[in-house]
């Protein structure tokens, strides 16, 4: 198993949530202090580099117009990390290509990062959460189709080496695609896609890309992975789906003592408690399938913020498989339980910093995980394993 330190570059210094309507989309940026923001960038980049020193890989993502993730141009931070880091794989998860007007530009940015890092890029593509469509002014209807066409165009741009090529699709049109530089890795960097529903995962499996899923827990994850494996097999990729095609993202905090772990875990819950977003930003028309949209209109949608706040306890999050937190032994067992429940996964994406988790606390969490949990994960869950077959094999041993 590979572990990745993931930080959203949060800006937590906000007034009480009652004083604003939404932490995303409409939160005035006068609340952002550029000097504090600059210090935070330094700090978060340092934490990524400490994770690298501890043998953990690096992951970042992109959101817009939000204090939860002040990384609206993830390729820029990725470029900095490409020069500052030396060994770690660099995962961007990912490029919101349904919201980017120029996929060829994305291909160029990613090729540059791959060169700068001498082939350490892992290139993720995401559809983006619903609150991203307003900042991007991006039409929420037909986003999936746009995302897949953009990915095809980016791969074409990466793999075309004989002068200008053309692409005339449904959403994107280019007559002279001939990017410089081309990627370091051949034929192109590994591709990751994030999905939180089974519907999308089958297609990712058919393509053989790495499937990542975020905070889908014991409830949602098995169906997503199963859909991926079915897509993989039906596309003729063979019966065995390597675990290194599947990734799971959770809040993770390992502490030397239960008390230390609990304190860190409580602070990590900020991800769930701070995400105050009104319904009209959560369900832009077309983002969810029509039957789901209809149920939301009927009032099925709940106030996410209130629900999250009510459910955001460390114990509930651990029980649901959204969080792995405790002593190294406890964290290992929690991960093992998830691994067995979903049929195995090869990448643990660690949401290891949030809100007011201070630098020292973040670093302690990274180090404790890296030194006392990670070695066991690598030993017990080898990268060569096959998904969905792990449980019987391990029991036989």
């Amino acid at each position: 198993m590979k572990a990745w330190h993931f930080s959203e570059n949060a800006y937590p210094y906000l007034p009480p949530a009652e004083e604003y309507e939404s932490i995303r989309v409409s939160l005035p940026n006068r609340l952002y202090d550029p000097k504090r923001g600059a210090a935070l960038y330094d700090r978060y980049i340092d934490e990524w580099l400490i994770a690298e020193d501890e043998g953990v890989e690096i992951m970042l993502n992109e959101h817009h117009q939000t204090a939860t993730c002040v990384d609206p141009a993830a390729p820029l931070v990725l470029a900095a990390l490409a020069r500052l880091s030396k060994r770690a794989r660099l995962l961007i998860l990912g490029n919101p290509v349904a919201n980017r007007r120029q996929p060829v530009r994305v291909a160029e940015e990613m090729a540059m990062v791959d060169i700068l890092s001498k082939g350490r890029l892992e290139c993720g593509f995401v559809r983006g959460v619903p609150y991203e469509v307003l900042p991007a002014n991006s039409n929420p209807v037909r986003m999936n189709e746009r995302q897949w066409e953009a990915i095809d165009l980016i791969i074409k741009a990466w793999t075309n080496h004989d002068g200008p090529a053309s692409f005339e699709g449904r959403f994107f049109h280019h007559r002279n695609i001939n990017i410089w530089p081309r990627p370091y890795q051949q034929p192109h960097p590994p591709i990751w896609i994030s999905t939180t529903t089974p519907g999308g995962a089958g297609r990712v499996g058919a393509r053989g890309y790495v499937q990542a899923t975020f905070l889908t827990g014991f409830g949602g994850t098995p169906a997503i992975y199963e859909s991926y494996r079915r897509g993989w097999r039906e596309a003729g990729r063979g019966a065995d789906v390597p675990v290194n095609r599947l990734a799971y993202a959770a809040l993770v905090y390992a502490g030397e003592s239960e008390g230390e772990a609990r304190a860190g875990a409580e602070k990590l819950l900020w991800y769930m408690t701070a995400n105050k977003v009104p319904l009209h930003f959560c369900y832009p028309p077309g983002y969810v399938p029509t039957p789901v949209h209809a149920q939301i209109l009927r009032g099925a949608a709940v106030d996410q913020h209130a629900a999250n706040k009510a459910n955001a306890t460390v114990d509930k999050a651990i029980e649901a498989g959204l969080m792995f937190a405790g002593t190294p032994d406890q964290v290992f067992r929690q991960i093992q339980r998830m691994y067995d429940h979903v049929g195995g996964f090869g990448h643990l994406l660690i949401m290891g910093q949030a809100g007011f988790l201070e630098h020292d606390e973040t670093v302690r969490g990274i180090r404790t995980f890296a030194r006392e949990v990670y070695p066991r994960l690598k030993e017990v869950f080898p990268d060569s394993a096959v998904s969905d077959q792990q449980v019987p094999i391990r029991q036989a041993v």
């Binding site: 039409n139 929420p140 209807v141 449904r170 009209h280 029509t290 949209h293 209809a294 009927r298």
Partner: protein, 264 residues
Amino acid sequence: MLSIAGIELELFERGQGAPILYLHGGEGIFPDLPFLDLLAKTRRVIAPSHPGFGRSSLPDWLDSVDDIGHLYLEVMDHLGLTRTDVVGFSLGGWIAAEIATRVPERFEHLVLIAPVGVKTGPPDRLDIPDIFAMAREKLDRLRFHDPANNPVDPGKLTDDELHVVARNRETLALLTWEPYMHNPKLKHRLHRVSAPVLLLRGESDGIVSADYLGRYAALFPQARIETIAGAGHFPQVEQRERTAAAIAHFLDDRQAARRSGAAS
């Protein structure tokens, strides 16, 4: 259902007499059906559900009001509407304006109720408030003179009806998301519209402002504006009788004037 250009169109027809092509707004045709019955007392009313609205199909390639305008040229040919009146509400007003710039000779009168479709204000201010970025309650305050008049209560609809409401919203987003609620080209084409135009607006409409409607009207060679008291964005719902009367008066007045002109 009507099959045109590979699209299955739901079509409502009411009454007899000289034709009115009725083009519904973003909420679909169902809230307007009682109003259609009023218009149909003296006229033949032909009202399609736009592609992706109601039970009309939505082909993959269709994503603009411009596409619908072209489609309706074919619909008019198919129905033999060589010359007709058109009444369009909101999005439907935009569609009506688009068609009338293409075949001005085929329209007797245009009635545009709270139409969208042009951008006439400054770049740093929306002409039409962003209906996709506000809470439902605020939207209803902007749209209705009295929000209690909203005829669509999701709690009381069947699953099928609610599915239609949801799909209507999705198609509306598809068509109007960007550029928001307008075609930048349209205002440069409206001078071609030769028919007299009546622009109607509910006095309490928080979506289509009086200023906006005034600037819109100025783009037509012959246009006048009427305001309906006690109504918001949906005068055909909140003030059905008055709205129908204003339209009938406009259509009949002109016919009378033309008849007297022909006689003299």
